[in-house]
């Protein structure tokens, strides 16, 4: 319990019965000691949390004017755009907010990969993060179906059909997901229900994520543990201020899209009402699903596993392999700053992810300078999995890391830590 003293009698009265003020203080206030060397890559978690809140607020407002019925959904979204006061703003914030959310969380994850934030004792923190990204993917996918445009409908059809790859019970699963024999009104209704629910599940997961974070505190750019008070500064006012500054910069970026290029991330086809009898000439997922989509399409028939089933397994494996990472990486050194070999492979891996995204945006039979995208996709997919399953374990055993500084304060002041006895 906090030994903080509160003057205000009302706060004191409440605090005695429910210690919520000290809880807040210890979570994001002056009572939370934070490494003093965090750089801007540590801004992205709090930014993601703010965007989650923005998504929930705009989503609840949208839901007041949205009708989850195949005959009205598209029209109700058009009505939001034209007739509802500031409906266009709510929708454009929500639409672009989805993209921003993924952008922030992807950066947040690459930060973790670079600085070894997934390592002991933060394995669970990392694993909860993987569940958060999975829940985000489900939420965004179902949200994208709601406006009931052509891309909405066909994305729903293609993705739900993936489950038909499951041996024996696949078709029953798909019928169950649809609540009918094709993507139709029951499907739209349940997607709306889940799309409303899941963000609150994400909220709960974020809470647990932060709970785990506060046990061992933030990692930091040199990846050396906090050794004492000389290594930390209070979260408030130092990092509240820094996060606020980052928020300002981010909001300029975010609002640029909302006001000047609101359909930058959107597909024009989604302004055509869903037509179950006409497939659009090309179905592309939202940009944040492109790497996973490339992996899905890269897998050929392997032995007795059909390309369809193999693709589905690989696509889920694409995210789930992250769960194993804390045990695949055996290096005792966290930060890539002191891991010369790993650092190079980190960037190769980063480029590999970009290549996968680029392949996902192209049709597999298209060619790039004579090389079919299918083959680029296959090579990039193999590399993706090899990075985790072969390269990381090998590098972590063979690499000779540099010596990290003794402590955070030693690194910051360039002298030996005062507290080190």
């Amino acid at each position: 319990m906090s030994n903080k003293f509160y003057e205000n009698p009302v706060i004191k009265w409440i605090e005695y019965r429910l210690p919520i003020f000290s809880f807040i203080d210890e979570s994001v206030g002056s009572g939370y000691p934070t490494p003093k060397n965090l750089n801007y890559w540590w801004n992205f978690g709090s930014l993601a949390g703010i965007v989650l809140t923005i998504m929930i607020v705009t989503g609840i407002v949208l839901a007041m004017s949205y009708t989850p019925h195949v005959d009205y959904a598209f029209e109700s979204v058009e009505r939001i755009m034209r007739d509802v006061n500031y409906g266009w703003l709510m929708r454009y914030i929500h639409m672009n907010g989805g993209s921003m959310f993924f952008l922030l969380v992807y950066i947040h994850m690459f930060r973790g990969l670079y600085y070894g934030s997934y390592k002991e004792p933060r394995e669970l923190l990392w694993i909860i993060g993987v569940f958060i990204i999975l829940a985000m993917m489900a939420t965004a996918f179902m949200g994208y179906v709601l406006p009931w445009g052509q891309q909405s409908f066909w994305a729903a059809t293609v993705i739900t059909n993936l489950f038909s790859a499951v041996p024996l019970i696949g078709d029953s699963i798909v019928t169950w997901l649809w609540g009918g024999f094709s993507v139709d009104n029951p499907t739209l209704n349940r997607f709306f229900s889940f799309h409303y629910l899941l963000p609150f599940v994400i909220f709960a997961l974020v809470f647990v994520h932060l709970w785990a974070l506060h046990v061992h505190k933030s990692n930091n750019p040199i990846g050396v543990d906090i050794k004492g008070p000389q290594d930390t500064i209070p979260f408030h006012p130092y990092y509240t201020m820094k996060d606020l500054y980052g928020l300002g910069v981010f909001m300029i970026f975010f609002m640029f899209f909302v006001f000047f290029a609101p359909n930058f991330f959107a597909e024009p086809d989604n302004y055509i009402k869903a037509n179950p009898l006409v497939t659009p000439t090309h179905i592309v997922p939202e940009w944040y699903f492109l790497p996973a989509y490339a992996v899905l399409r890269a897998v050929p028939d392997i032995w007795f596993i059909s390309a369809k089933l193999g693709g589905v397994i690989a696509m889920f494996g694409f995210t789930l392999v992250l769960l194993l990472l804390p045990w695949l990486d055996r290096s005792p050194v966290r930060s890539a700053r002191f891991r010369p070999i790993y650092r190079q492979f980190f960037w190769v891996f980063f480029i590999d992810c970009i290549i996968l995204g680029w392949v996902g945006a192209n049709t597999p039979d298209a060619v790039f300078h004579g090389i079919p995208f299918l083959w680029i996709g296959r090579a990039a997919t193999v590399y993706y999995f090899a990075h985790f399953l072969i390269l990381i374990p090998l590098i972590s055993i063979l690499e000779k890391p540099k010596m990290p500084p003794q402590s955070i304060s030693a690194a910051v002041t360039g002298t030996a830590s005062k507290g080190a006895e």
């Binding site: 024999f181 029951p186 006409v278 000439t281 369809k308 597999p364």
Partner: protein, 178 residues
């Protein structure tokens, strides 16, 4: 209790504990089922499960698309060449071997669900101006699956032929699908 529990007593307690857990688990399982099953197709959705088609106006070489259970069904009045091409294929050349005669009731009428067996796009080939793929039947633009004049998969990622729904001739020129 402070009295020493006889081993008899202990096994009795183990039994009670285990049977409570078992009953609880089975009970919870049963209670979950209505929630799961409520997501399966509802009675009115199931009731819409047949569609009747009038074949009279469809000329040779033409196709129409009808909706059955929310899915497009291709009804094609095949030409003599198309039938010949479909019948001439050797079974071992097929990805999903099936003779043409097993896919039709009358060889000039090909009736099948027009949903690509890969990931559910609608193949092109219903209109005269559509691309029909390398085998003169249908072509799925999504990931490039080619179907022949019997709707069988010949090339591309789709694993199966376009499925033939259950249907019956009510008269010579009307068909009930479903």
């Amino acid at each position: 209790m402070s009295e020493t529990a006889s081993s008899d007593d202990k096994t009795r307690r183990d039994f009670l504990l285990l049977s409570t857990i078992a009953v609880g688990a089975v009970g919870s399982g049963l209670a979950v089922w209505p929630f799961v099953d409520s997501m399966n197709p509802a009675a009115d959705t199931l009731a819409l499960s047949t569609t009747e088609v009038d074949l009279e106006p469809i000329e040779e070489g033409q196709s129409i698309t009808v909706v059955w259970q929310g899915k497009p069904v291709f009804v094609r009045h095949r030409t003599a060449e198309e039938i010949k091409a479909a019948e001439a294929v050797a079974l071992e050349d097929l990805i999903d071997p099936q003779a043409d005669k097993d896919r039709v009731k009358k060889s000039e009428w090909l009736i099948m669900v027009g949903i690509c067996t890969h990931l559910g796009c609608i193949p092109l080939g219903q209109k005269a101006s559509d691309p029909k793929g390398e085998f003169g039947g249908w072509f799925c633009p999504c990931h490039g699956s080619h179907y022949d004049t019997s709707g069988r998969i010949r090339k591309g990622p789709a694993p199966k032929n376009l499925p033939v729904p259950a249907y019956q001739y009510l008269t010579d020129t009307t068909v009930k699908i479903g």
